[in-house]
Symmetry: C2
Subunit: 232 residues, 2 copies
Amino acid sequence: MTTRRAITRAATVEEIKRTALTLMREQGSTDLRFADIARAMSMTAPGLYRYFSGRDELVAALVEDAFVELGDALELAVESVDGESAYERLAALCQAYRAWATADPTRFAVVFGLPVAGYVAKDERGKSEAAERAFGYLASPVLGAVAAGEPVLPGQPEVAAAFAAVCDKPPLDRLTPPQAQAMLHAWASLHGFVCLEAFGHLFGLAGPPADALFASLVRAVAGYIGLREPAA
Amino acid sequence: MTTRRAITRAATVEEIKRTALTLMREQGSTDLRFADIARAMSMTAPGLYRYFSGRDELVAALVEDAFVELGDALELAVESVDGESAYERLAALCQAYRAWATADPTRFAVVFGLPVAGYVAKDERGKSEAAERAFGYLASPVLGAVAAGEPVLPGQPEVAAAFAAVCDKPPLDRLTPPQAQAMLHAWASLHGFVCLEAFGHLFGLAGPPADALFASLVRAVAGYIGLREPAA
DNA sequence: TCGCAAGAGTTACGAGCCATAACGCAAACA
DNA sequence: TGTTTGCGTTATGGCTCGTAACTCTTGCGA
């Protein structure tokens, strides 16, 4: 039963997280101070401890949220694609991933950068359900390509054999080694571009030129994992 | 004239930087405390202000050093390649880049992650000579491929036109737009893999499997910027 | 060789933050 | 309406940063 107390409490939790992200965005760093958050909310710092036991727990919540949002964004992207084209789906996912990252680089940094300040991920990051869900979407165009009978990455069996062990665990467990290899290739390329852009290391490239470059990267990636761009 | 005072001073500066990196590595975060550094050196915190005006200046020095070391590593890699093969040179550079990053993920994070704590790069990162040198090496296999008459990335002129403006400024100024495009593609892919690996997001992949996967990524990257692997 | 200036490193201090503890107070529920 | 639950406050101790004022050593120059 959702009592009134629970409602306002949840609202406060949301406000804290929102405020934390806003502050991180404003000061462009993943470093957050309880005192600042409290001040921005017209509260005092100790009050926050009613909601989070410390910085670690708050950061963990932000990471979890970020993965949920990433999952949502990717799900939306996949669903917005009509038809069966694995290429279209890959492109949509890449765009969504990039949009998610650049919309809030600090959130992206919290998830994919070095662990924040004193925060150590107690639950191995792979254990998060939200993270698994997000990675599942990233893997989906590869699976889709297989289902559609399209070739996925010309085999490099010596590589595949080497890391077959990784394909047991959840995010990759529905992929064969060559598929996982293809997926990781694609993700690395995608992720690299997004990292460079989100953290401002793209030589000042932004706007349409960056869009164009990204699109061309997506084409290239699709190509080398064996997905063909549909003939317009 | 190198007076004795200058010598000991330089030694202390080096020790401070070394200690800072060691501490960052030990605690796995880019977050550093003057008090800790001082303690590790059997000093008191205020003494460090004789050498660095504050955390920002220390971080800036670490970033600069990191770029110098990256440049050195890349230079060594290029020079260690006999012959003219642009492919070989690219592979060597990629390996060196990866080795540099994984050897000390925190150093890598300082340079390529979100700006540390309160540190804002006063000199736009592109202005650093060391950074330009490092990026110059990264661009070299692309230039080499052109010199050798090998094809570099089948043209996507609509993209090239879009970001022609970027090719004026130093790190990319010796490249034509299509070449810059190829170089950025390659770098993004490379960088993405290295980021994932250095920050532990590669699904626990490490050792030989990671090596194999990286090698296969390098092959793929070389392929899609138009460099052919020499027939063994 | 000696005196002195320059600089290294110290303690002392104020301000700020984290986190705990102990306290009032108001809202929710019976 | 009375009671309980829990929210948010002030108070406190221990930590950090960075400045200031001071001491002492070092090594340079006369």
